[in-house]
Symmetry: D2
Subunit: 342 residues, 4 copies
């Protein structure tokens, strides 16, 4: 049994992580911490966990995180960079679901996140945990930077095209739509039901924090800079991301075959038959990315549709997938649950 600690855990990625880990056959949740809610029973905050998870939030100062095999940070940005180094030094492996270790260029990170990085020395050692691209490095990683939700959907959609060198890199467009849980469990007016329901809007068009993360990843794949326009939108559903990706064709190819071949051994990427349009609900609560590839009217644009559950393949599920890889378990352990439809 892997001894697991969770720092944070009162947000949506936290409760999703708890749901997955509580049902994982090889995991024992040793402790979960929350400064603000120490002493509260986890199941009284999240009644979905009643009668299964019998833990209380512990004060971070008292929690025995150092005896864990792995600690997940499900905290706001800026916490893991403070607390992870001591755990890492004590030999604990760490998976950070926030953004602290995702961007290799510390100055760029500080620009986009508006704070000073507290442990730049660990940024270089962190492995960016997209298993479909970096499985080998994840295996031995001490510190995994779990990818963002939008970056996961966008990267998995562009990956085969960029690796194959068949699209122009200077004018990629990623038009992405997210369910409201992506904004987190924070008391704010714009994500109230009466504001976000029966409404659709773009946000962050001048620049969203996931832009440099995606750009870094795509540039890494292509070994060249990429020109990317990224526009996120808020759509009135709880979970789910739908990324609609546009690229100009540079070299002719059988795109369907390209995607099928690239992902043929991937347990958590499902390439749909030609002509398909994936529903976000087809991955609801499942650790899965479903992808369809189109070339409308045989023209010079390829359109990729990529859907994930932002809380699972876009956060907690991918974190568990990374843990499975790091500890030599079957990659699908604890992650085989089917999507909930309807």
């Amino acid at each position: 049994m892997i001894k697991v600690g969770i720092v944070g855990g009162t947000g949506y990625t936290g409760v999703e992580l708890l749901r997955l880990l509580a049902q994982h056959p090889e995991v024992q949740i040793v402790t979960i911490t929350s400064r603000g809610d120490a002493g509260t029973a986890v199941a009284s905050m999240f009644p979905s966990l009643r009668r299964t998870l019998d833990l209380k939030f512990e004060d971070p100062a008292c929690a025995d995180l150092k005896s864990c095999d792995v600690v997940f940070f499900a905290t706001p940005n800026g916490v893991a960079m403070q607390q992870a180094p001591a755990l890492l030094d004590a030999g604990v492996r760490v998976i950070d679901l926030a953004a602290d270790f995702r961007i290799k260029d510390v100055a760029e990170w500080e620009h986009w996140y508006g704070m000073r990085h507290a442990s730049p020395e660990w940024v270089g050692k962190a492995v960016y945990g997209l298993p479909e691209y970096a499985r080998a490095q994840i295996r031995d990683a001490r510190l995994v930077a779990n990818p963002g939700c939008y970056p996961t959907a966008v990267q998995l959609g562009f990956l085969p095209l960029i690796e194959a060198g068949v699209v122009e890199l200077d004018h990629l467009v990623a038009d992405a739509k997210s369910g409201v849980s992506g904004a987190g469990r924070k008391a704010e007016i714009p994500t109230l039901f009466a504001e976000a329901s029966d409404n659709f809007k773009a946000y962050g068009v001048p620049g969203h924090r996931h832009l440099p993360e995606i750009r870094q990843a795509l540039a890494g794949i292509s070994s060249a800079p990429v020109g990317l326009t990224f526009v996120p939108h808020l759509t009135p559903m709880i979970r789910g991301i739908h990324a609609t990706l546009y690229a100009r064709v540079m070299a002719d190819a059988d795109f369907q075959a390209l995607f099928e071949k690239r992902y043929q051994n991937e347990p958590f990427v499902d390439v749909l038959p030609p002509g398909s349009h994936p529903d976000t609900r087809s991955v609801r609560a499942a650790n899965l990315c479903r992808i369809a590839v189109h070339r409308p009217q045989g023209g010079n644009v390829v359109v990729v549709l990529s859907v994930i559950d932002n809380l699972v393949k876009g956060a907690a599920g991918q974190a568990v997938q990374n843990m499975n890889i790091m500890f030599g378990l079957a990659e699908t352990e604890g992650l085989r649950q089917l999507a909930i439809l309807p």
Copy 2:
């Protein structure tokens, strides 16, 4: 491994049954039939099942249902009464998720369902499958009539009060609210998104088919006729039933203790602490009924709040629970998945 057949299965209870059975460790789905969709891959109709369920709908005439240990009918009302007898005679056990065998008074059934009953001789032999009330009979049943969704939520809420004889039986009120999946996967205007979203309404106030079913069950518990007013409503969510139950107090009692004691050994009924208000989402996709009991201002009315997922504890999950009981498995086998929240 229990060999399972499914008749029907293109509706919402069907896909939910498939989700649960496909993940059940002791079950092998042998065949699933559909007259209209024979030859279609199940996963092409329900993409949530892709890569897990590799079956096609079979023509009912060709399907080898008689070699199954148990056959589930996830069909419209009136089908099981035609086809189940031949299977039962062949020694196959049957669980009917529709209403054909729920009402013992055949004339009353024919009145409410507007058709002639095709196998009245089996009505008396059928066991009404509410495990919390009839577990012993279910064990040996050849034919189980799986309760309706509203009846499950209402019965579990009234059961302890009626068994204890502490409320007046002549003026019970059940005000119930259901998600739209309760109306089934049928192309009809009133359940279109643009009709049912951002809207709330009652329906069937003059008389809903679940009224006689609930009345029969409550009368069975009390061994006396009951006066029940039942008003169902449609609420803009996909899954979930919330029953708000009102009864006049006849004899003083500690209602909280009464409920806790009655359900203390039940794996799928969760009595919440005093003062609670259960969310339907706290049971989303889980086989569970959560209940809270109130006595507002210490007055002479007891209010019970009872929530289930209409497709799970209100249909497919309860059917699997019944199967587990019938075949001597752990009652929770294949049904331990946590609710999906948010």
Copy 3:
């Protein structure tokens, strides 16, 4: 032109009041105040008002409220009782959309609202502004206490039955469901989209503030105390209240005719044909209460279904209706807009 001032107005009843008043042909909005948002253009907070309403929120200390003919308070409870007396003394008429002047028994008000009343002398002089019951008094009122949203829907549903003396008064049940805008435009976790969407729950079962308001009103109609159980619920829609009312029949009557006669001259109460089930969307954005009456299976219970838009007939629209009456305008002036469907 009636010179109108608004105190508050950054919440949902505020923006709805602005929508109605900005389109009212006999109204000039002179000033709108907000302590927190003074200086902000109203249309930058509520873009729906862009290009029609060219006002800024003013500091309450500077606003010239005393030159207004009427001032609406669209503030949290406890504000109007502080600020209205000075305006009233200056001859300004006041309509309070909050609860400060609704309950005649000051001690009971203080019990339910948890604060000391600042102007108990005005409580007795205030007129409870349900036009269908108190039109004559409203005409001459200096201070109108605009009814709550639940109380409006419940009173209009019970009114004809109680006036006619045909139901038992000791066991009335009001099971009410509200859209999420009823909780106001406040940053709170329970009303986030990811919490309130795809979910249904009761709240306030031990006691909701609208209970004493409804009880007082019904007792006023019947000139006798009433036994009322009131359970509010939150339903995942933006606007709308659906009250389902249950009463035991004491004297036989043609309930349909009773309702039709009682409301035959009311411009804003619509009694539906026998057998109807009103949708909340049939009154969306309209100042209207639609009602259907049922007597299920001809039994001893009468069921009334009453729907309103909580922000219109349940708040801002009714306030404008009261203003029209107070100033001798056609009661329907500015309130004839049709419901938005779908």
Copy 4:
């Protein structure tokens, strides 16, 4: 008073047209026809119209359409081309809300709509009714082809850029999202609440019927062919379209000023301040297009966000706007109602 007839009117554009026309001060609705629902009171199908609209659907064969000044076709594609010519020949002016007369190239129309055109001689005479582009021709038009919903949002967003010649025309991308009412009031499984709620998906990526309509319009503006990729999506809201438009900058310009200048006198196009993100709800139930222009990070891509209510500016409202122009009324007559928010 303009005597108006409506052919069709049982769908969502129909009921919206009825809502607007019933409140239009210069209009008298003379007749509304429906083959399937002749004899039914309009208000019994659409209870939102009760007590305002006292008409029954008439049999098209009996209806006196020829005495009308103008007839609106709110029918499925292929009806107006059959019935409009006789009315036009009788001197009645016609506004077709369907697609029959939108595409000038009859062969292309027949290709996309899969039927033979019944009155190709009228195609050339029809005026494509986008007032912001073709106001002068609309004034004298006998037959107006009312634009589609997506085409309206996309054209108004691209129009200033193309007229000014500042973007590359060979790689325009229009990523559009529509509420579910855009699919019409038809009993179909994919638009059921339980299918379309809490879900997001693209559709028609290989080719949507609005593509040739948009392409024709943009080519008309630019007097050159355009390369356009158009991907529509279904988003879980009732009303609203959000078009996110991408174009490569060819010539530097102050895009904000360009848009403000182009639309400065337009009553129904609202250019938002720099940095804005329009909500679809900010135009809910209003005849309005709100637009924001961005140039992310000052790069070589301009992003335009354009929102409309698909049933108003995208259908019925624009049709009334066209009628106002055709009959010399104030263009805003009957169309000044503010958006419904929340």
